[in-house]
């Protein structure tokens, strides 16, 4: 049995902090598939701490701390190595992206067939920057500028990655993949 009083308090904390914490986790996970697990682990940990009667002044910061630890544990050394290997390709990627015109309107790239599973499976395979950009842009309505600040990327890089991925996705959906 869960303590009902604690549960009400917990639910209210969940409602207030979910967007921020899920955003943090998405921006720090290397794969969207892991996001749900880490969100759940983070809040379960919080519940256990609240049950012990610990008084937390800044719940959101505390939750970010828990999420950080969960992400670190989740990925461990593999994650660090993966991050290093990704960053080594960044320069090459940036050179390619620089060829895309700056005035391209992303919203004009329409995905004609909205197959959720296909889009999801496609996005999962992309690198973590692209996954994060899409989430922030489409789910949390971040602007290009806000995304660039959040992820410490150039605005042009953010826009170009969005454009390129959407183009590829459009092409794949037309092909029926």
């Amino acid at each position: 049995m869960i303590d009902q009083i604690n549960l009400r308090e917990f639910e209210s904390i969940y409602e207030e902090t979910y967007n921020q914490i899920s955003k943090y986790i998405v921006c720090h996970c290397s794969n969207l598939e892991d996001v749900n697990d880490i969100i759940q682990e983070t809040y379960v940990e919080l519940y256990r701490i609240l049950l012990k009667g610990k008084i937390i002044e800044n719940i959101e910061s505390y939750l970010v701390g828990i999420a950080k630890n969960k992400i670190r544990k989740h990925y461990g050394l593999l994650y660090k190595l993966k991050e290093i290997s990704l960053s080594s390709n960044k320069k090459e990627e940036n050179d390619l992206l620089n060829q895309i015109p700056n005035d391209v309107d992303i919203e004009k790239i329409m995905l004609e067939k909205a197959d959720i599973e296909v889009i999801w499976n496609y996005l999962k395979k992309k690198n973590s920057d692209i996954q994060r950009i899409f989430y922030l842009y489409y789910n949390l309505d971040f602007t290009i500028k806000e995304i660039s600040e959040e992820l410490n990327l150039k605005e042009s890089d953010v826009k170009n990655k969005l454009y390129r991925t959407l183009k590829e996705l459009q092409k794949n959906l037309r092909k029926g993949l």
Partner: protein, 200 residues
């Protein structure tokens, strides 16, 4: 349908706030059950450990007692040897010949070779003689009594034996109605008619 709508729908399905909350609650509930089970496990396992150690001690104690009984359930046999013209009591050791003090029935007041039986943690021994005689001798009165070929001793006692080279004295130790040991004393003679006793 706009791209934004497509992706909103995508993320609402794949990273669903309500679904995550439900999963969190069930994990918490499961965690509580696991904690209870874990507590029980942590209580039961040490308990079983303690119990098994206790049983082990009890069993090994019984076995030790049993083995102690086997070791202590024994008999020490003493015969008499002449040392510097004095007849002295000597313990018969297994597989070691002991030269017995010279005995001449005609010249002696005792009826035979004296052998002292000392019982150790045994209920009684049965003494069986083959090719010889057993006597009892009362030193106070000088009375000699010939005994049956099978004698039961439940205390330490000296018996007297009329022996020759074919004589065999069998000793069977009994403890709680079970045979604990069987030992034999055999005799041999040398050219000078000195008798030797051998315990096996």
């Amino acid at each position: 349908m706009k791209n934004k709508d497509i992706f909103k729908e995508l993320y609402s399905k794949k990273i669903n706030k309500k679904q995550n909350y439900q999963n969190i609650i069930s994990q918490i509930e499961k965690g509580n059950k696991v904690s209870m089970n874990r507590m029980l496990k942590y209580a039961v396992i040490p308990l079983c450990l303690v119990l098994s150690i206790y049983i082990g001690i009890v069993i090994s104690d019984k076995e030790t007692f049993k083995s102690k009984e086997n070791i202590v359930g024994n008999i020490r046999v003493y015969a008499y040897q002449t040392i510097e013209e004095t007849s002295e009591k000597r313990e018969l050791k297994e597989n070691i010949k002991l030269e017995l003090s010279k005995y001449n029935k005609a010249m002696s007041s005792v009826p035979g070779y004296p052998i002292f039986f000392k019982l150790e943690n045994i209920d009684y021994i049965n003494i069986v003689i083959e090719n010889g005689d057993i006597y009892d001798y009362d030193r106070t009165t000088g009375k000699v009594t010939k005994l049956e070929e099978i004698q039961q001793l439940n205390t330490d006692k000296t018996l007297y034996f009329n022996v020759d080279e074919n004589t065999k004295i069998k000793m069977i130790g009994i403890k709680k109605k079970e045979t604990v040991f069987e030992k034999n004393i055999t005799f041999s003679k040398d050219s000078e008619f000195n008798y030797y006793a051998l315990l096996k």
